[in-house]
């Protein structure tokens, strides 16, 4: 995996771009596909899973960066896993207590956040080497990128598979969000998209779409980089 050499000053813009697009957990790193395909039957489930994962990523970025001076390199992996597993268990308990309905839907997949290699990957590549603030921010951006991917995939599959959008959002976000629950009249959806194969198909199209966009954007980006090099700030 390519990672820019750490600049002296943390480059928050690069971190943002990395998390949301260039190095997006799903669209670029192709990690965490198990929870991704399992829970994205609806946009709401995707959002819930994304928020839970983001909470863990932020927490792991923060705590691992904080502890990085005390974690001996020889035992860093077990130490990371311990930190991440603790955070996931805490999130799992909190969700069970306070967003119980959602926990019933996602229940099985919350503990599996531990096995989300993206989190351990960020701990190893980023948080264990960088200061507190950029590491936390990196966790937030990686988590946001993951959430965006989950919601997008969930929304497409929900519309195609069930003919609804954000069904059950009020359970997760409160009754105010009842308005975003939509139902497409006279369309009950195609079963295929609610099933795992539909997840693969939609994901495939989304990956292809990102490639196409990246290719279109490439010349413009190069131009911008060249300009920045010509006129350093």
């Amino acid at each position: 995996m390519t990672e820019e050499i750490a600049p002296e000053r943390p480059d928050y813009k690069a971190i943002t771009l990395d998390g949301l697009w260039d190095n997006n957990v799903v669209f670029a790193q192709l990690l965490a596909l198990c929870p991704l395909l399992a829970v994205t039957g609806t946009a709401t489930n995707g959002l819930g899973m994304g928020l839970a994962s983001t909470a863990v990523m932020v927490g792991s970025g923060l705590s691992i960066s904080f502890l990085r001076k005390w974690i001996p390199p020889d035992v860093r992996i077990p130490a990371f896993v311990l930190v991440i597993a603790t955070l996931v268990t805490l999130v799992d308990m909190a969700m069970n207590a306070w967003v119980h309905e959602l926990h019933k839907v996602l229940g099985l997949f919350i503990p599996l956040i531990v096995t989300n290699c993206a989190i351990l990957g960020r701990a190893e590549i980023f948080a264990s080497k960088k200061p507190l603030l950029p590491s936390t921010y990196d966790g937030l951006m990686m988590g946001t990128g993951f959430t965006v991917a989950l919601v997008a995939l969930g929304a497409i599959r929900e519309v195609l598979g069930a003919g609804t959008l954000f069904a059950g959002a009020s359970i997760l976000l409160g009754d105010v969000f009842k308005v975003i629950e939509m139902n497409i009249p006279a369309f009950d959806g195609m079963l295929l998209f609610a099933l795992p194969p539909g997840g693969f198909i939609v994901l495939g199209f989304m990956l292809a779409g990102k490639r196409v966009l990246d290719q279109k954007l490439a010349p413009r980006r190069e131009g911008r980089v060249a300009k920045a090099e010509a006129h350093p700030v």
């Binding site: 502890l67 005390w70 974690i71 001996p72 390199p73 020889d74 035992v75 077990p78 130490a79 311990l82 930190v83 597993a85 603790t86 268990t89 805490l90 308990m93 909190a94 069970n96 207590a97 306070w98 119980h100 019933k104 079963l191 609610a194 099933l195």
Partner: protein, 224 residues
């Protein structure tokens, strides 16, 4: 000239320091988890009790009874070597019905867990599916959210519908199968029938007066 020895694994710190560090980490993690558990445990117990009450009130209508079902439990052995927790509904201390979970083996993709309510006279008060792994779009019409098929059991008993008629239409019974899915409704019908038979088999135990203390008995309601 001999080959150079392969370098021994090099540790910056002695294994004891490493072990001590990990132990320290684990201790802190354990303390955090204990704290989190203490904070959430009562809430979670409350949520589970709410879940149970919500399910029970669907299969035994609330207007029929005046006691709290989840606090009046009975543990009965069977079917097979399993144990069934029975929740008893009373009105003015008179037993008017029961609710109990019942598992149907041999669904299309695994067991189907039901909870059913039965009146004191052996009528089905209600049936709901707790969990299943049937095919979405085909077999999942057994969920009330997807179809009201499951309401077809309400009010039936072995008196109004003789046991041999308990089957899907394809098998000569009276219940609709779904287009594209016969196995799922067949198993549900069979399970409800077994559930009713369970009621008839255990009448003496079911109606036995329980110790007056309302304290939960051996069957903890949160165990499902």
């Amino acid at each position: 000239m001999s080959e150079p020895e392969p370098p021994a694994p090099k540790f910056d710190k002695s294994p004891f320091v490493l072990a001590a560090t990990l132990t320290l980490f684990a201790t802190v993690a354990a303390a955090l988890l204990a704290f989190g558990d203490a904070k959430t445990r009562p809430e979670i117990a409350l949520r589970l009790a709410e879940d149970l009450n919500a399910i029970l009130s669907q299969v035994v209508p609330a207007e029929l009874h005046d006691n709290e079902l989840s606090k009046d439990t009975l543990l009965i052995s069977g079917p097979g070597d399993t144990q069934t927790t029975v929740y008893r509904a009373r009105r003015k201390d008179l037993i008017i019905g029961f609710a109990y979970p019942f598992t149907g083996e041999g669904g299309y993709a695994g067991p189907i867990e039901l909870v059913m309510g039965v009146s004191a006279t052996g009528e089905v008060l209600g049936v709901r599916v707790l969990s299943h792994t049937e095919t979405p779009g085909l077999g999942d019409k057994i969920e009330l959210q997807k179809s009201d098929w499951i309401l077809g059991f309400d009010g039936l008993s072995f008196t109004t519908l003789p046991p041999e008629k308990w089957g899907v239409k394809k098998d000569g019974g009276t219940f609709d199968q779904f287009s594209g899915a016969t196995i799922t409704p067949r198993i549900v019908v069979k399970t409800v029938k077994q559930g009713l038979a369970f009621f008839h088999d255990h009448q003496s135990t079911l109606f036995a007066p329980s110790p007056q203390s309302p304290a939960p008995q051996s069957g903890e309601p949160t165990d499902d």
